[in-house]
């Protein structure tokens, strides 16, 4: 009833353990909603794949797919509700990946805080492809993503992890038989461009999420400043006094 005060505290959101989110989705039979998920973020991933609404009011023509993946998309691989549901749900339900299959984190000497070895490997491979000519170590980018997801928590953590799994296993959309991490960097790039120009918001969103994370964590690094011509923030260069002193009283 509108306006009635419950005066009952709603329990704060509990954070889910890695993987619990996906398992719950299968148990709860939300498959149709899985397909209808909308998208992922340009930079962050603040929603969830599985809460997303399918439609936006479109008042102009959709872009014509320009890639092989786009053509496949147009023929309905993901536009088919059942197929899309299965594809995404399967990707979400795939095992997190063990060190034997995905040794990159171990090889890099990294103890992961939020990503699985597989997800780390996908992030690392994406960084390798996306950051052509950028003087950063892809492993450092994958590590930064791992640490950021550990700090920011849900729902962003689960959503980006799902994106990484989708990217790894839906390579059929780019007519590849190998997984994303098995592709050559130039193949990965073309595959990701297919996601970028997809008619499906879900795929564009997944692309934007992954791309945004990778590129942001690359260009915040001082070693990219020679590339961009950024001279750094003023406090780094010179210590200047405040123009006025502020008295807050007692601070404890």
């Amino acid at each position: 009833m509108a306006g009635r005060a419950r005066r009952v505290r709603v329990a704060p959101a509990a954070s889910a353990a890695p993987g619990a989110h996906c398992a719950k989705l299968f148990r709860s039979g939300n498959r149709a909603r899985v397909y209808h998920a909308g998208a992922l973020p340009a930079m962050g991933v603040g929603g969830t794949l599985f809460d997303m609404r399918p439609t936006v009011e479109t008042i102009g023509p959709d872009p014509a797919p320009t890639s092989a993946a786009g053509s496949l998309d147009r023929r309905g691989f993901l536009r088919n509700a059942t197929g899309g549901t299965v594809a995404i749900a399967v990707a979400s339900m795939l095992p997190a990946g063990c060190t034997a299959d995905y040794p990159q984190a171990a090889d890099d000497g990294i103890d992961l805080a939020s990503l699985s070895p597989k997800e780390y490997a996908v992030a690392r491979a994406a960084a390798e492809a996306l950051l052509a000519g950028v003087p950063v170590d892809p492993a450092a980018i994958a590590l930064a993503i791992d640490r950021e997801l550990a700090a920011v928590g849900e729902p962003i953590r689960s959503d980006l992890r799902n994106v990484l799994r989708l990217i790894e296993h839906l390579t059929i959309l780019g007519f590849h038989r190998s997984t994303f991490t098995e592709l050559r960097p130039e193949q990965r790039l073309r595959y990701l461009e297919g996601w970028a120009k997809s008619r499906l918001s879900l795929r564009r969103a997944a692309f934007q999420a992954l791309r945004g994370f990778v590129q942001y964590f690359a260009y915040i690094r001082p070693q990219t400043r020679d590339l961009t011509g950024f001279t750094g923030p003023l406090p780094e260069a010179v210590s200047l006094p405040v123009v006025r002193v502020v008295d807050y009283g007692e601070v404890v």
Partner: protein, 513 residues
């Protein structure tokens, strides 16, 4: 007194005349007003307490320290990036300081559509005048225009497009360029250095790192709030707090206020009108290094298109937005450009050559704020219908301005790699560029989720700011605005909050606590 929850070691319970949830434009303004009128004030802020010396102006520090969800929050379809601060001082810690009074036509609309008869320039102007004096708001001086600002102005002047230097909230600004990452010089007159000290040195208590989760309501009257004091770095709960008060004011921003209400009150009016003023970004390569950093990001505003224009048949024919000159740090710029690989790298190599503007779209279609089944606050927002047309019109007009200013290329940063080199190319810009996730879109003017109005079926609070259904509970922040202001809403929020504060003081008559 500032009490940092991150240092708490024991539970806290205290009583005040008024407890204010949130310390930004609304909360800070209202708190200072009441404190200086004899009220015993307690303010609680979810974010941390940062002072000038804490601001490194490194983008990653700012994002992690005082941006909501570490700067990564988006709508559920992830098509819109939501930019808001969580810190003592609220979003004024990272805002640009643009300080516009609400356009008279907007107040007229709110009077007509929401019964807010008091929203007249005559009623509000004394409050705006007081705030402008307190914050030293003045027209941006020429010295704070960097080259990007000047190029935007030059393009407008060549085309006969109306624009102006905005009023700005800063005094003795050094023009370091990165005000959005916190001012390390105490020059930007945010709530952090203006109203908050007036509360904290005037007998009031300001709790940081204090997350309210319970709104206490007894017999239809708000009696206080309760929540957790948390460690700033880990979020670990240090202790609990409870503040009992005669008056409870919600000023946690359109997201924070809506979230608290959704957790505590069943009211269908909460969260369903979520305005953000969608921001799309256009970049222009001038083929030479330009000063796109110094000064302040927005020292020139394009007003020409604020009003919607319609054709003789009443159809949309343009407008419905303003443009702000803009610059962004490399990491954020990189995330805003939708290209990949060598193309993206090549664009980033030209970062020092880039001019930029962003839109403030005066939208017709709001989104909503809600709690997911897992209890996590989420948002939905689609740029749709006529709002898409506004976005497209903005992209075209921004391109024209930059071409007139001498840009070699104008980038619509969509996934299609749209580049404008001549006037003829502008026709290529279409709605495909503003489909969800086709390009970076952001919202930083968050409003309307617990709006004022006379109709309880359509508004959470009455014209005085007091909730229709809960006595002693007020809303005094961006959530309270009934719709988009069509310009940066900060000063409007402050003015409305100050008006509400004066009303609270007058009605409750609490002089001397």
């Amino acid at each position: 007194m500032i009490i940092q929850g991150t240092n708490a070691s024991a539970d806290v319970r205290e009583r005040a005349d008024v407890v204010i949830v949130g310390t930004g434009s609304g909360g800070g303004t209202l708190g200072a007003y009441l404190a200086e009128h004899g009220w015993d004030v307690v303010m609680v802020e979810r974010g941390g307490f940062f002072r000038a010396e804490d601001f490194t102006q490194r983008e990653e520090d700012a994002m992690a320290d005082f941006n909501g969800r570490r700067g990564l929050d988006t709508t559920v379809d992830n098509a819109v990036f939501l930019n808001y601060a969580q810190a003592v001082g609220g979003s004024t810690v990272h805002y640009w300081g643009d300080s516009f009074r609400p356009p008279p036509d907007r107040l007229e609309r709110w009077r007509a559509e929401h019964g807010l008869d008091w929203m007249t320039p005559a009623e509000l102007d004394p409050h705006f005048e007081a705030i402008e004096a307190e914050l030293g708001i003045h027209v941006t001086p020429e010295t704070l225009l960097n080259e990007n600002n000047r190029l935007v102005r030059e393009g407008c002047e060549k085309l006969g497009i109306e624009g102006a230097k905005p009023p700005t909230a800063r005094v003795d600004c050094l023009g370091c360029g990165w005000t959005q990452f916190g001012c390390p010089y105490n020059a930007k007159t945010s709530q952090l250095i203006t109203t908050i000290p007036r509360v904290s040195t005037g007998g009031g208590r300001v709790y940081s790192d204090a997350r309210v989760d319970v709104l206490h309501i007894e017999d239809g009257r708000a009696t206080g709030v309760e929540g957790e004091l948390t460690a700033r770095d880990s979020g670990e709960v240090r202790a609990r707090f409870r503040i009992d008060a005669d008056v409870v004011v919600l000023a946690g921003g359109a997201l924070g206020t809506a979230e608290l209400l959704l957790r505590n009150i069943e009211d269908d009016t909460v969260g369903r009108r979520f305005f953000i003023n969608p921001h799309y970004f256009v970049w222009a390569d001038f083929g030479r290094r330009i000063d796109n950093v110094s000064g302040i990001p927005c020292a020139y505003v394009v007003h020409e298109y604020r009003q919607v224009r319609k054709d003789e048949r009443g159809r949309y024919a343009g407008g419905g937005y303003i443009m702000l000159s803009n610059h962004q740090s490399p990491g954020i710029t990189a995330a805003m450009l939708s290209s990949v690989g060598a193309d993206h790298t090549d664009r980033m190599k030209r970062w020092h050559q880039l001019g930029s503007v962003m839109s403030v779209i005066d939208e017709e279609h709001p989104g909503r704020v809600f709690l997911g089944k897992d209890g996590i606050r989420r948002t939905e927002y689609n740029v749709k219908g006529v709002d898409q047309l506004k976005a497209v019109d903005y992209l075209k007009q921004a391109s024209r301005i930059f071409l007139a200013a001498g840009a070699e290329e104008v980038w619509v940063p969509d996934v299609y790699g749209t580049i404008i080199r001549t006037e003829r190319d502008i026709d290529e810009i279409g709605v495909r560029s503003v489909q969800p996730n086709a390009q970076f879109c952001a919202g930083s003017h968050l409003m309307g989720t617990a709006p004022l109005g006379t109709n309880p079926a359509d508004s959470f609070a009455g014209p005085t700011g007091e909730a229709h259904r809960v006595r002693g509970l007020y809303v005094a922040d961006g959530a309270a605005l009934p719709g988009s202001v069509s310009v940066d809403p900060s000063l409007t929020i402050m003015g409305v909050a100050r008006w509400i504060a004066a009303g609270i003081h007058e009605r409750h008559g609490r002089v001397g606590g």
